[in-house]
Subunit: 351 residues, 3 copies
């Protein structure tokens, strides 16, 4: 999308200073902007960037006075707000998936497909599966046998969902998501002849995703050893997350990128698991609790608590351990002083 | 699968208390069970859940007496064991891949395909490759040139195996596994004109997987700079693991989710690398050694030792560092006391 | 490739001791070599492996004298160098992608495709996209609407690039790379009836990759909330890395396996982010700075500095914290001594 500064100022009901014929085609922060970009300025923290930015125009507050390297400014009441309003105008046009089944899709004869469904090229949907109304199943998706996809769901290209899994309504799975891979489970068997055999433990359960679940690119959710691995309603999972077998996550929780949750752990509702956190198996993280970034959790977290560190401890305790090196430094000085004093005392007494 | 409680009790040779006509369709733990589910109770740790569970029936020990919110109980000698026996009865039916090549598979003319092989839709097998007997190559798999897949192997949908790689017998690769991607290697070249050029170091080797190797969803194993990146027999790798170029892993080892092993490191046999562990390059982890979860290893690990922490140290040493904050607290008190005593002494002498 | 030892010695201008008719087919280190392999020996650190190696032949220095279990040795001036020279001779033959569009590729009618382009089977290229000259787009790739792929780029099988993204020239994307997935952004809305709704924040921007960018298997780069997520020229990203929305990375930087960068963080040029590092959002890592392996960064890094640890601190500070446990041990002894001395003094005075 392209728009002249004049049109932009008019639409935002702002006051333009500069050449109204200049064109804007994208948005960017002050430091990253290039010619043709619109930026915004409000926070004095970024004041230096006003005179170095390459943006063509900047949204500023009505009362703003100052210097800028931008070619134009548009004065508005709320620069952040105006920027957010303008953002969709410069977004790439939305991708519209008109209902219809691409002729190259391989769909088993007994698959039930709802109304207004899109199925993209090279997608496979195996026997016994059901796709609800208004679903978008993009190109190169694999849906195994007896899978249920709730209405209004959107599976991006190259998602795989293995047999028997159940997706709620309005579920969004981004490219590379793997639903229902086998959980990690083996039994080493020590044979009479002194060798070992590693037996695979059958992973007989499924994965069940609630309504409004969204899962980011290349995240993996393993099927249960038995029963279900379950992600609750409106829980949002970021990219490259690992969810082990039989994990249970409640509703309205968030799990940020590259976090991992080992088998059979229960995460409550309203929880936040921060990026790269690692959570051991068979734990309970109670409602509204959080596990900090890059933390390694090996015990339960009570409701509403925030644990972090390696191993993870309550936030307060973690903060106090950060003080230890400085405390030790202070102790070393105090002990050295005491030593000197004690020596002096000893001499004083002996003399 | 559905089964009445009566049939279930009969099959498990258990004693039913409750309505034998009720139907069971799935298994779940006490806390996660829903109507229609069978659960089990043995460990007193979970006693509270007996009266809140929504399970339709619970397996309990013969001698069990108590209250439960479940509609029925089945008394058996070993509830855990009976639960494991019943699990397959309620598992989704196994997916059977009848031998046959899907007409949409693109297979180079000189590819050798063994007996009783299944190849799914949209799969690509390039020139010079060999697929052993009884292999299942599912939908949308990519097998590059001159790849060998040993007999009885199973490649799930959307696996990629690049040129020249060698898979042993009965290898299982889950969806999104990437075998033989280029290793990470570059040479920065400082040019006479003051600029830099980053040259790619050719990655000329392959990946070799032993027999009975299993690799979880979205794990990546890079091809060697030269020679082979090698995973030994019966070694099991979980999801989202990174194996760098020229890494050598022995037999019967395990590498848990999201762990990473940098280039040229050697991991012995019978080793366990726990989840999210990061292992630097060019190290040796000797046989039966372990690296703890979320640990960062930067030195060799002797045979049978368990290293953990960041940086990883022997388990004992790690445990002792965890005591440091409390020791410092104690020291602070002792030093404060000493100070007071020394001051008192000083005054006593001076007076 | 196979070559006799005689031919190998001739080509490397080395002096052969052993049977010139023996054949070499691969390269490996001393410890990993198998019959048929060529290895090399220079560093005395590996001297023990000389007599246990299963290599058929070893490259050694001209002056070398000693014992080896290898069947033959070839004396050369520089064994490492000769090994590197020989490596390509035993590499699997390069995969040549002759220009041409596979008949099974689904390409929208208005897609612009340059000269000498290869497009593999089952690949999808949607409306409005442009593929530059000399590109290799392998099998099962998904390229969304209005994507630009610069000339000379190579997309390996099963890459996905979503709508509107822009790839520079000579970009290499390995299998499973996800360009342009939605960033992680939600607004919880607290409804009058006491319930919550989680609104998705539209991700309206794109991803822009500079020239000569290379990205490893299963790495994800999220599209911007608005504007662009940007990776600069010649920046090389390893496997399983997460790049959040609106992240900006400069030129000639490296990001190693399983690192993660949260939204809106800026990484300068010539930076190195080591494996499994986690970087919080909205930070600035200045030019030539580094973040150590497995570190968790939560503040800015000045130019050229190396931060590491959890939370990450300057390298020097990190090194000093590692000394703390030993310092505490020493303090405990000193305090115990002081206590004894003070007690003795007290008694001396009292008596």
């Amino acid at each position: 999308m392209r728009m002249t500064l004049q049109e932009l100022a008019d639409r935002l009901q702002g006051q333009l200073t500069g050449d109204g014929a200049l064109e804007i085609s994208a948005l960017a922060s002050l430091s990253e902007a290039r010619p043709g970009d619109l930026s915004f300025y409000k926070d004095r923290k970024y004041i230096k960037q006003l005179t170095t930015t390459r943006a063509t125009a900047i949204l500023v507050e009505n009362a703003w006075e100052g210097e800028t390297s931008a070619k134009a400014v548009i004065r508005v009441a709320d620069p952040n707000g105006a920027f957010a309003i303008a953002a969709p105008w410069f977004a790439p046009p939305e991708v519209i998936r008109e209902p219809g089944i691409h002729p190259t899709a391989v769909i088993a004869p007994d698959v039930t497909i709802g109304e207004r469904v899109y199925v993209g090229p090279w997608t496979v949907i195996e026997a016994g599966s059901e796709i609800g109304d208004d679903c978008v199943i993009e190109a190169q998706v694999f849906i195994g046998q007896r899978v249920t996809v709730g209405k209004g769901s959107h599976l991006y290209p190259q998602v795989t969902v293995r047999e028997g899994c159940v997706l709620g309504e309005r579920v969004i799975l981004h490219s590379g998501v793997r639903i229902g891979g086998d959980g990690y489970g083996y039994n080493p068997v020590f044979l009479p002849n002194g060798t070992i055999r590693v037996d695979k433990i059958p992973q007989l359960g499924i994965v069940e995703l609630g309504n409004d679940v969204e899962i980011g690119c290349n995240t993996t959710v393993d099927r249960a050893r038995f029963g279900r691995t379950r992600i609750g309603h409106s829980t949002k999972i970021d990219n490259l997350v690992q969810i082990g077998h039989n994990v249970q996550v409640g509703d309205f929780s968030g799990i940020i990128a590259q976090a991992g949750v080992a088998g059979s752990t229960r995460i409550g509702s309203g929880c936040l698991i921060w990026a790269q956190a690692g959570i051991s198996g068979h734990l309970t993280i109670h409602d509204r609790a959080q596990v900090g970034p890059a933390s390694g959790l090996s015990k339960d977290v009570p409701p509403g608590e925030y644990y972090l560190g390696l191993p993870a401890v309550p936030k307060k305790e973690f903060a106090s351990t950060l003080l230890v090196p400085r405390q030790v430094e202070r102790l070393r000085k105090q002990v050295a002083e005491l030593k000197a004093q004690v020596e002096a005392l000893t001499q004083a007494i002996q003399s």
